[in-house]
């Protein structure tokens, strides 16, 4: 902030004081204005903004304390410095209690004046920097939008917003490609930890030893090749969130270590003795049947209960097919910008193919299909023949399995989606009453 952008208002009924301070601050390059009384000061405040106001506590008419109150009503960010004679220090203290930045007694020590003003300038610069940095972080941490309007995805949005404000451990479950990492990022971005990092750990990508060192860090010489001390992901996530993807793939040994950290929030680096405390929020994701893994003894029951505090189920795309058109529109817009290609829509028969497909790879598969179609397709629209072969050959509404229950579940869901989850209409089409339909929705966990 350049001094010339910094406004100082001097309010004093004595011309000599106004002129002295005016000359003093003009030499510093500030924008300076003077006012001989409270009313004059308020008029000037309406016309232009100031960062500092020097206000004489004793003035005829509106006194300094009253003027301070009125100034704060107009602009809370102004730093007010009360000018007082030694005799009125008590009133100056009252002014401080009511929000004045400081007070100076007449005559003012030039050094004191310089210090007060430079302190205010530094404070304002820091505040401005802080706002700018926060904005930058918010821009950088903008989470990719989770797209959808189906009741299932709306429920997910609700859960994200509910749990984000807490520090609760979250377990995100869903098939591969449903967007579990997006949900984790959305929880972090909506939490009070958003100015700290979210550190992802892919538990399926690293072997046991590497994962241990990645998570907890290591001391110099902890193992061959450990030439330097290194911080682990837990330390890097301090203040923020750590996201364990594919938590179901963690080995039994690491499960024990993780459980200890979850319980104590303490750990030691590999090869180290010093206990390190961290403040992290844990979010995990898995596409595995953890309950089955617990039954089979492959996943510790105590860790399961530690992680399974708040669970968000991400529905597979085939269970929220009503979101396909809006997702397609979203991906077309996204890739059209990235590729600078003016394809803005999809032909109805191509969309029909997408609606009939099962999407085992979920939203990720849909995004890839659209990206591919955008590459080979020609403006203005994606055509049926631009879609991947497997979609075209498999583009029938085939059942997921031969089980009667699966067929019933898929059919009910299809009708519900067709009717936008209008229960009465769906029940009519299905030829059952509303209560039965509700029972089946609960039985198949459709909502």
């Amino acid at each position: 902030m350049d001094n010339k952008n910094f406004g100082i208002l001097i309010v004093d009924d004595e011309q000599i004081v106004r002129e002295s301070l005016y000359r003093w601050f003009i030499e510093d390059g500030f924008r300076v204005e003077t006012a001989e009384n409270g009313a004059d000061a308020l008029r000037k405040l309406q016309k232009s903004s100031f960062d500092i106001a020097f206000v004489d506590i004793r003035m005829p008419g509106m006194d300094g304390l009253e003027l301070q109150r009125r100034i704060k009503e107009i602009d809370k960010s102004i730093s007010i410095i009360i000018i007082t004679a030694f005799a009125s220090v008590e009133s100056a203290v009252r002014a401080l209690k009511e929000g004045a930045y400081d007070y100076v007694t007449k005559p003012i020590d030039p050094d004191e004046l310089s210090h007060i003003v430079s302190n205010i300038i530094n404070q304002k610069k820091l505040m401005l920097e802080n706002i700018q940095l926060k904005q930058k972080i918010e821009d950088l941490s903008q989470v990719e939008e989770i797209v959808g309007e189906s009741p299932q995805i709306k429920k997910v949005f609700e859960l994200i917003l509910t749990v984000a404000k807490t520090d609760t451990t979250v377990l995100i479950r869903g098939e591969s490609g449903t967007g579990k990492e997006l949900v984790a990022k959305a929880i972090h971005a909506n939490s009070s930890r958003k100015y700290f990092p979210i550190i992802p750990v892919n538990c399926g990508a690293l072997n046991d030893n590497l994962l241990e060192s990645e998570l907890f860090g290591h001391e110099r010489g902890a193992f061959t090749g450990a030439q330097y001390r290194r911080k682990g992901k837990f330390e890097m996530a301090d203040g923020g969130t750590i996201f364990f993807d594919e938590i179901g793939n963690v080995s039994e040994k690491l499960q024990v270590d993780l459980l200890r950290v979850l319980e104590t929030k303490q750990f030691t680096r590999l090869g180290g003795e010093q206990l390190i405390n961290v403040d992290v929020r844990i979010i995990c994701a898995t596409n595995r049947d953890l309950e089955q893994a617990v039954k089979e003894g492959k996943f510790r029951e105590d860790l399961y209960y530690r992680l399974n505090v708040f669970t968000i189920f991400l529905p597979p795309l085939r269970e929220r097919k009503s979101d396909i058109p809006i997702l397609v529109e979203h991906f077309i817009k996204k890739y059209s910008q990235v590729m600078s290609k003016p394809i803005m829509k999809i032909d109805p028969d191509a969309l029909d193919v997408l609606m009939r497909y099962d999407w085992p790879g979920n939203v990720r598969e849909l995004a890839n299909a659209i990206e591919r179609a955008m590459v080979i397709g020609k403006p203005p629209a994606i055509k049926k023949e631009d879609l991947p072969f497997q979609l075209l050959s498999n583009g029938v509404d085939k059942p997921l399995s031969d089980s009667l229950e699966e067929i019933e579940r898929a059919h009910i869901l299809k009708i519900l989606n067709q009717c936008d989850w209008n229960i009465t209409r769906s029940a009519e089409i299905l030829g059952i009453d509303r209560a039965t339909l509700y029972n089946k929705i609960n039985k198949y966990k459709l909502r």
Binding site: I16, V17, S20, R23, W24, E27, P107, L113, S114
Partner: protein, 175 residues
């Protein structure tokens, strides 16, 4: 354009020739020295036992002796003040014709330290260059080592060079 230093009750230990030479080097202008008599009584505050610098400046400005080809600065050893501040080392008309600088608080004896004429000479030179800089329209500089940096303590003055920083020099040269 030239500079005129007006000595009025100034400190006898100041080397006037060196002062003129060094000020001349900084501004690239001829510097003349003249002793004058001012009615200091008009600016004297009997309660504070100090002299009101703005009034002394007015005395010079209203004397009719100033003109556009000249920047004039009063050199004095009297203790200066402006009513709202406890003291000032000097004062200047920003972008004007006149300034005033005092050596009163620049000598070591004022702070109970042994006399040091060399230090006094250096401090008054910087103060005179600083105030004259204001008369050329220069404002305070954020560079601690620039002569145009604002100084409330002698220690701040000692830290500065007796010359403009690159930025201030650029501004001065463009005038």
């Amino acid at each position: 354009m030239h500079i005129e230093i007006l000595g009025a009750r100034y400190n006898k230990y100041i080397n006037i020739d060196n002062l003129c030479k060094n000020v001349s080097n900084v501004f690239g202008l001829e510097v003349k020295f003249k002793k004058i008599v001012l009615d200091f009584g008009l600016a004297f505050d009997p309660h504070r036992l100090q002299y009101y610098s703005t009034k002394l400046l007015e005395l010079i400005i209203n004397s009719g002796n100033l003109n556009n080809d000249r920047k004039s600065i009063i050199l004095t050893d009297l203790d200066l003040f402006v009513p709202i501040l406890t003291y000032v080392f000097g004062e200047a008309e920003l972008n004007g014709k006149a300034a005033i600088a005092s050596s009163h608080r620049l000598h070591n004896e004022y702070y109970g330290l042994p006399r040091n004429d060399e230090l006094l000479q250096s401090r008054i030179e910087k103060e005179i260059i600083h105030e004259l800089g204001h008369t050329f329209g220069l404002i305070h500089c954020s560079d601690n080592f620039c002569v145009m940096h604002s100084s409330s303590y002698v220690e701040d003055i000692d830290l500065k060079y007796s010359d403009f920083c690159k930025e201030c020099r650029k501004i001065y040269n463009s005038l």
